[in-house]
């Protein structure tokens, strides 16, 4: 949980920086009684100041974070927070991220939590480090810190004397626990936070700079490829590798049980050898996959652990009108543009892995188990890869690369998965079924809401459970097992993320049927269950509004007290020039979707328009408007980019995406069997940010996807009078619904 940010206004003006001068509130006094007081954000688990910030003798700062760049712009945003509190220019703040040898352990970079957790830590650590430097300046400047001003790392007294951070750096003791008691700046005083600072990483990415782990090529590097089985759970009976082994340029064929890979001097030779090995490998096939046409019945038939959440018990009425609908979403792939990649090297019994994993510390723990090595002998270093959008092949390919590199000690091995490795073996966002019933009273208010969902786990990441959660470990000669699947608890939730409506219903019950058996590999895809739950809740809200001929926006507002929620809905409606009573014309319509991500992060309301080609079944989304409240905004353009990107990705999920499979295995092995939205069909997107400077910053990277899906589905229903409840809204579904 995030502790509130200390507010400087609580403290007497002029005391800024003198730790002992602050009075403690009751909760803080209570915390002090415990052996370790609770610290806000990621400070709690990484308590030393110098774990976060170090000041060099040239006056510049090195800032450490366990969160990693995934293309979401987090390192730029975090550098803004640190530079702001330190009163340093951005050019003198160097970021080091995601390195088991150097940075704090902040687990996974996931769940839209980096600004909240790492940002909070850096904000408070930055304020405290600045205060320590000002205290040290007291002797030299002869005045107390409240009389000092700081500009670009230069501390000045009222008489014009000054001293630099660099001069004080050697005497500043940052090897101490953070107290989190130095109040950070007031938002009104921000000079760097709140500005659209251009991303640090983009110039290299547009000029062919070395930007990705795929671009690493240390001296003597070899190239690896792996040969995966035809389907899950298959075992390798035999492989005739005689011809491959004598192919010029092939260094080694590596087999460990049913794990099979090849190392070569050149990449194309490794690719060719992979094909040759695949042709000459004999497999005992694993169990058949379920029938895709009955996948939801199948999932519902499996044993589940049922969790009842969000219960409200108020007055029940007799004789209300009851409504019921069932919705589904299919398996959805992360479908990164670049297949996963890692570089691994064994040297003197130690393993180094360069990886685009979302969590270098959890990955290290899995590698230690899979390779039976002490974690202390493994060094994982984050280097960017293609965008991941959750748990894709990043961790798996790191183990693959390590297994190959173990065969060639002293020689680094770079392994990039081929397209079909990524599509067929990544853990998908799981298929889900949702059923919702509601009752309306005579005034048209919802007085009873009963919601059920069926889903596999949305988190089979490294360290998300016991066991070994990396692919190749399950196929070794001594196979290791994945631990029993788990689901993150409420309020964040897993499959049940955003399953509890933010609306005010007198009676309410949400049942999460957490299905344990996983016929198809699944894990965290951006938003976890929120995408499907928001799609369902918001679709059903429109169904209910429609049943009583109410305007969808007025109907929502009538059930919603949260002022910030109301504000984004009203804003989105205004942006879209929403007119109550407007009718769809059979092929064109508009719809709204709203959610507060996890019910505790960013608020987003989306209005979308659709155009339906009734002959072809093709749906286009010409325009989307989104109003966003993410609290205090660190980098407006960065936030806008995340909201826009989420809308466009969700438009693609909603209109097209579905992992194809049959009993024999996964059929979506390239882009022809997994089409996504392309440039001509991308909607125009208009985003407005409701900047609330005095509210804490909220995670936003996953906030717009659910509302977008619902807005599109509602727009389709508005256009055609027919509702699609099974995603995706592809031509087949559209034609069925229009029949």
């Amino acid at each position: 949980m995030n502790a509130p940010i200390l507010n400087r206004r609580k403290f007497t003006k002029g005391l800024g920086g003198i730790v002992l001068a602050f009075s403690l509130g009751p909760s803080e006094l209570l915390a002090q009684g415990a052996p370790q007081p609770q610290l806000p954000g990621s400070l709690n688990n990484n308590r030393m100041l110098d774990a976060w910030i170090r000041i060099a003798s040239n006056g510049s700062a090195t800032v450490f974070t366990g969160k990693v760049e995934l293309g979401q712009g987090i390192l730029t945003a975090l550098s803004q927070i640190a530079a702001e509190e330190l009163d340093l220019p951005l050019s003198r703040v160097k970021m080091i991220s995601g390195d088991t040898g150097q940075t704090p352990n902040e687990g996974q970079t996931a769940g839209s939590q980096s600004i909240e957790n790492s940002g909070t830590a850096l904000r408070l650590a930055g304020a405290e480090v600045r205060a320590i430097l000002l205290e040290l300046a007291e002797k030299r400047l002869g005045v107390t810190p409240d009389k000092m001003t700081v500009n670009d790392g230069m501390i000045s007294g009222p008489d014009g004397r000054y001293v630099s951070y660099g001069l004080l750096a050697s005497t500043a003791n940052l090897k101490r626990e953070a107290t989190a008691k130095v109040p950070p700046k007031l938002p009104a005083d921000y000079k760097i936070v709140g500005k659209s600072i251009p991303r640090h990483d983009i110039p290299a990415k547009v000029t062919g700079g070395a930007a990705f782990v795929q671009d690493m090529r240390p001296l003597g590097m070899l190239h690896g490829r792996v040969v995966r089985p035809p389907r899950y759970g298959s075992t390798l009976v035999s492989v005739d590798d005689a011809a491959v082994k004598v192919t010029p340029g092939v260094v080694a064929v590596v087999r460990d049980g049913s794990f099979l890979g090849v190392i070569a001097e050149r990449e194309e030779i490794a690719v060719g050898a992979r094909e040759a090995l695949a042709k000459n490998a004999k497999w005992n096939l694993g169990p058949e996959l379920p029938d895709p046409d009955r996948i939801f019945e199948h999932l519902k038939s499996l044993p589940s652990r049922d969790q009842v959440i969000g219960v409200k018990e108020g007055m029940l009425l007799a004789g209300g009108r009851m409504f019921q609908s069932t919705y589904t979403r299919p398996y959805t792939a992360h479908a990164s543009i670049g297949p996963s990649c890692a570089l691994a090297e064994f040297r003197d019994g130690k393993l180094s892995v360069w990886t685009h994993s979302q969590g270098v510390f959890p990955l290290r723990a899995e590698l230690a188990k899979a390779l039976k090595m002490p974690a202390a002998s493994i060094h994982c270093i984050h280097v960017e890869g293609s965008g991941c959008y959750g748990h894709n092949g990043a961790d798996d390919v790191a183990l693959d690369a390590a297994l190959l590199a173990r065969a060639t000690p002293g020689k680094p091995v770079r392994l990039q998965w081929m397209r079909d490795d990524e599509f067929a073996w990544e853990p998908y966002g799981p298929a889900m079924a949702m059923q919702v019933k509601a009752a309306l009273d005579p005034e048209g208010r919802i007085y009873n809401w009963q919601y059920e969902l069926w889903s596999n786990s949305h988190s089979t990441r490294p360290e998300s459970t016991s066991g070994t959660n990396v692919l190749a470990a399950w196929y070794l000669a001594e196979p290791q097992q994945m631990g029993p699947p788990t689901s993150p608890p409420q309020p964040a939730g897993g499959g049940d993320r955003n399953a509890i409506p933010l609306y005010d219903f007198a009676n309410q019950k949400v049942t999460h049927h957490f299905v344990q058996d996983m016929p198809i590999r699944a894990s965290a895809l951006r938003t976890l269950g929120a995408y499907a739950n928001v799609f369902t809740i918001e679709s059903f809200m429109d169904e209910l509004a429609n049943a009583i001929a109410a305007d969808p926006i007025a109907f929502r507002l009538a059930h919603l007290k949260d002022a910030r929620a109301r504000a984004v809905i009203e804003k989105a409606a205004a942006m879209a020039n929403w007119k109550p009573g407007q009718q769809g014309d059979g092929s064109r319509g508009r719809g709204i979707g709203f959610a507060r991500y996890k019910n505790l992060q960013t608020y987003v309301a989306v209005v979308a328009t659709v155009e339906v080609d009734r002959a072809t079944g093709r749906v286009r989304v010409p325009q989307v408007w989104a109003a966003t409240d993410a609290g205090l905004v660190i980098n407006p353009d960065g936030l806008t980019n995340q909201i826009e990107g989420g809308i466009i990705q969700s438009t693609s999920w909603t209109l097209y995406e579905e992992v194809q499979f049959d009993k024999s295995g996964i059929l979506s092995r390239d882009w022809s069997r997994y089409p996504i939205l392309t440039m001509p069909d991308v909607p125009k997107v208009t985003v407005e940010l409701l900047n609330r400077q005095n509210e804490r910053p909220l995670g936003a990277g996953e906030a717009s996807q659910g509302p977008t899906a619902a807005a599109i589905a509602n727009a389709f229903a508005h256009a055609t009078g027919k509702r699609i409840r099974s995603l995706p809204m592809n031509a087949q579904q559209v034609k069925i619904s229009l029949r």
Partner: protein, 155 residues
Amino acid sequence: MATNLKVNGQTRRTTAKPDTPLLYVLRNDLQLNGAKFGCGLAQCGACTVLLNGKAIRSCQTPISTIGNGEITTIEGIGSLATPHPVQQAFIEEQAAQCGYCTNGMIMAAKDLLDRNLRPSETDVREALAGNLCRCGTHNRIVRAVLRAAKVMGRT
């Protein structure tokens, strides 16, 4: 057997086999990072380079088919110090998230703008239809290409 390739105005020699896809030679032998492996199937566009000014998929282009053709990669059109107007426009529009598709987008846009300095928005979207982006930065990319067109049209 060695093959000579004209890359970014220089003749480069490689001993890779003739059927080797150009992409691997560019990335591994010539250490040019720009072109990316995305699918190996000419479906996604991440590996796009120019051959005699036309956008091609280097993952599906064996080096034996290139002959005397002039290959231009993203490194050949501009640099950090002197970016091409398209590269500059991508920076100004912050037209990326992860940036993995960016090479292909820029090279396909260069191909378009070399033929048509006054593209409509639809022209840009059509020209980039074969380049996949997963982060959802399409509209920023379109804005960047239109911005670059204006700049290039002035000079």
